[in-house]
């Protein structure tokens, strides 16, 4: 049944996945009566290492308390752990100040937070009917719908960059898209469906020329490459914990301090206030101003442990590993008959999520037959339906890799696709 893989060259820059995989209990999972799990759905969410789970358990078993303002031991420990996680995340993205790191529940909340702040802001940030919002056609729904809502609510015009046939942003009309009326440009650093890595510099430069703010959706970047918010030159950067070996229920918004000071709060409640009377309230300084209510304490601490884990391995090494794997996967997939890559077909400026179609076999069927062999991929529009519309396809199958993925798993995918073709051939 299994085809012999083509004479596989040793790939340069691979991590010691044998050691790494031991840290991830879920990778030992056996499914469908004895098939070893081949987890290639990392763009949807990553698996979690023992090191992160241990930190979660230690928190709940020893130090669990509500944070801030407590004078008892547990409250002080919980606060130190929670704020310590903020330090770790700040260092991870090279933030100039820890106070620029806001904990949210996921990247979607981070993106919505910015959209809402701008809707309620005073000049010069305020988005209203005479202004424009710019996104791109390759955004995740979480970076489309908040701007559609903001545009409906304020009357602002929503504009976007289109895509080239090979899955890149079409910036040829950048001067017409980003104009003096533009208040905010929000775009994805690495596309979750196409894999494309976008040219930040060109967009940031144009945005700065016209005085627009820039929000970068780094949800698919933070897990996979070194992220330096200062080098990016953006005003806000959003990402999400569960895709970077962290727990679910935690996201991050980084924002420039002056902006966080000037912009209005979003959610109101405990923790985000300075002083409250029935008649009026004043707000705590950032980041607390944007963290209403009991925060996701254990989850932030877990994200801190995730960041420790990734840092210990090294983000550059992780990027090199995935790059090698992506190059190998593209090469092997190229040989699968009737397979069409949706997105860049070389590994250059490209993340490790690879979307494709297989003849006219529906992605649901591709995914299901792969699943029967233990291979977990994602099928559908990957919360980026405009991309499917753009390329005239109903959906794609997507395989996506991470630090624990192996060339053997790429081979398993290719073999699996052969089975799919036999089955529906």
């Amino acid at each position: 049944m299994t085809l012999p893989p083509p004479t596989r060259r040793p790939l340069p820059g691979l991590l010691d996945t044998e050691a790494i995989r031991k840290d991830f209990p879920a990778l030992d999972r056996v499914v469908h009566d004895g098939k070893k799990l081949v987890y290639l759905d990392n763009a949807a969410t990553s698996q979690k290492p023992r090191q992160v789970l241990d930190v979660l358990n230690a928190y709940y078993e020893r130090s669990n308390a509500n944070v801030h303002r407590g004078v008892h031991v547990l409250a002080e420990e919980a606060t130190a752990l929670y704020e310590g996680a903020r330090d770790k995340v700040a260092a991870f993205v090279n933030a100039p100040s820890r106070d620029e790191v806001i904990f949210t529940k996921n990247a979607s909340e981070s993106l919505n937070l910015v959209a809402n702040m701008l809707g309620w802001a005073d000049e010069p940030y305020r988005v209203d009917r005479d202004t424009e919002i710019v996104i791109t056609e390759m955004e995740h729904h979480s970076n489309i719908v908040p701007w559609q809502l903001l545009s409906q609510r304020t009357g602002a015009t929503l504009k976007w960059f289109g895509l080239t046939d090979d899955g890149r942003l079409d910036l040829s009309d950048i001067e017409q898209v980003i104009t003096e009326k533009t208040k905010i440009v929000s775009f994805v650093l690495v596309s979750n469906i196409l894999g494309t890595v976008n040219p930040v510099e060109a967009i940031v430069r144009r945005a700065q020329d016209v005085g627009a703010l820039v929000l970068v959706d780094a949800s698919q970047a933070a897990p996979h490459m070194a992220l330096d918010v200062q080098a990016l030159g953006a005003d806000f950067v959003a990402f999400t914990g569960h895709k970077m070996v962290g727990p679910t229920g935690i996201g991050v918004l980084w924002g420039r301090q002056e902006l966080l000071e000037d912009l209005p709060p979003f959610l109101g409640g405990g923790e985000m206030i300075e002083t409250v009377s029935m008649h009026s309230s004043t707000y705590a300084p950032a980041p607390h101003k944007f963290e209403a209510g009991t925060p996701p304490i254990a989850q932030a601490i877990g994200l801190g442990a995730a960041v420790d884990y990734l840092t210990a391995i090294g983000m550059d090494k992780i990027a090199a590993h995935e790059h090698a794997l992506t190059e190998y996967a593209l090469e092997r997939l190229r040989d699968v008959p009737s397979l069409r890559i949706i997105g860049p077909d070389t590994a250059q400026d490209r993340g490790s999520a690879i979307s494709f179609t297989l003849g006219d076999i529906h992605p649901h069927d591709v995914g299901q037959v792969l699943d029967e062999q233990g291979i977990a991929v994602r099928v559908g529009h990957h919360c980026a339906r405009p991309v499917c519309l753009r390329y005239g396809i109903p959906a794609t199958t997507r395989a996506s890799f991470y630090l624990y993925s192996t060339p053997a798993e790429v081979d398993a995918l290719v073999d699996g696709l052969e089975q799919v073709r036999n089955f529906f051939g």
Partner: protein, 149 residues
């Protein structure tokens, strides 16, 4: 879940193509993009024809083919009973093991029992059946053909 019966219907669909009818509907499964356009012709109390066009996965395509097989030529009351039985089977989350009585009603459609274990795919299997129910209601109420989503 891919029983031979299902694959057969997928590869060689029965009654595919749009023919004349008294009502037409267009149903979409937004989570996966499966679509079907389906027409119903009633000959008095009998299901005269169910014709369809669409794109989608093997389950949704095969299910439309099986529907055509099963319902065309049946009295409306019986067709409805078949539809309801199929719905019940698909919503059983793999809990119903079709017995002889059910097999007698559903014939080839019992092959979909395995699909009911996969919540993500149940909607695929039901797409054409929901479209048929909708189109039949329109045909009977004399509504002129129109698009619904």
């Amino acid at each position: 879940m891919y029983q031979d019966v299902i694959l057969d219907h997928y590869k060689h669909p029965h009654g595919r193509g749009l023919r004349e009818g008294q009502a037409e509907v267009h149903h979409v499964n937004p989570t996966c993009g499966d679509e079907i356009t389906l027409r119903v012709r009633m000959d008095g109390e009998v299901v005269g024809d169910v014709s369809y066009e669409g794109q989608g996965c093997s389950i949704s395509q095969a299910s439309a083919s099986v529907l055509n097989d099963l319902l065309v030529g049946k009295e409306l009351a019986e067709a409805r009973k078949i539809q309801e039985t199929f719905l019940e089977l698909m919503q059983s989350r793999g809990q119903i093991e079709p017995d002889d009585a059910m097999e007698e009603v559903l014939e080839d459609a019992v092959a979909f029992a395995g699909v009911s274990k996969y919540p993500a795919r149940v909607k695929c299997a039901l797409l054409s059946w929901m479209a048929w129910k909708d189109a039949t209601a329109q045909a009977l109420s004399g509504t002129t053909p129109e698009e619904t989503a």
